[in-house]
Symmetry: C2
Subunit: 186 residues, 2 copies
Amino acid sequence: MTEAHRRKKQPEQVRQQLLEVAARLSHEQGVAGITLDAVSQAAGVSKGGLLHHFPNKLALLDGLFDDLVTRFNREIEAAMARDPVAKGRFTRAYIDVCFALDPATDVPGWRMLTIALIAEPHLKSRWRDWVGRRSVEFAETDASTGCMLARFACDGVWLADLMQSHELDAEARAGLVENLKALSAQ
Amino acid sequence: MTEAHRRKKQPEQVRQQLLEVAARLSHEQGVAGITLDAVSQAAGVSKGGLLHHFPNKLALLDGLFDDLVTRFNREIEAAMARDPVAKGRFTRAYIDVCFALDPATDVPGWRMLTIALIAEPHLKSRWRDWVGRRSVEFAETDASTGCMLARFACDGVWLADLMQSHELDAEARAGLVENLKALSAQ
DNA sequence: ATAAAGATACCGTCTGGACGGTTTGTCAAG
DNA sequence: CTTGACAAACCGTCCAGACGGTATCTTTAT
């Protein structure tokens, strides 16, 4: 009842909790699982509490998008920093990050994002912006057909992970990574 | 009122009409646009009529899935029949069919399907079955890393078309096709 | 050949529940 | 004592599906 009133107020932590729960629910129950009721309840917060942090559902999806893209960006940049060769550097980072995703833990969040991306015109355009900026930024080093091809293949693998449609063992994945990296240098 | 009762009964045609309308609606209004009311009304059929053909909403999605996969299969087989070389034949057909999709007309149906695939565990497993059967069937000719890679890249391009995230002109697409086909022979 | 007897293909309304969002209230920290 | 961080009840809408019909087609019995 007044439970949450008594506990220490940690708005930032609650906000993070809400995002995590939303990602988890989308994994367990599909898109339909992301309802304000379900998210708030699973996060141990009332619906009003959720709507205090995110004024409406779209804002919640937006927050999730920001969160995940920020994380993705950070990993890409970290991977790029480790790569001494300029040509195809972005593409190799893309490959590494995509294949480093642990299907059991990381994919769920992205699964939801994909669905939201395709379903929500608003998020779709934000994603397009991200892709557009990146492709301009790395036009000098990563615009070759080989690089594009490699990145598209990453997306395909990622999609396969998402819908668990292909059974790829570690060996097959390693083989793919090797070939893709070769393409990125071409 | 009794209008539709008087018209000739054409169950198969009505069924097809319902599927077409469902695909169209998902294109125009997103997944949320696929409601029993909207589909039935746009197809010029009552809700009861729709539920006569498809006992519930999942059955409607199932029907859509069957319809589209059947069409996809037919095109794949037609493309394979035109290819004299055994090695990588399936993969090349896959490439052709994926790139032959007219983003303006064919994608809408697939867009909805993708969303449903990711969102609906039931359809997801049916898709997995299809992929599994195909990959067994063409294990001899299309199991090389190059072939797999090419097909994954197709999926990536198809995803990009779906969310209109990349601006690919005809030239870039042609270049991709060329490279992918080279990979299929490797 | 034909009429009765289903079977099939629909129609139109109703309901119960879910869901996004609002409002009002309450507690606690600064 | 004001403001931020919640709680809890509530509202309007939308939607899936149930239900009870009616009209047309098909089969069967005569």
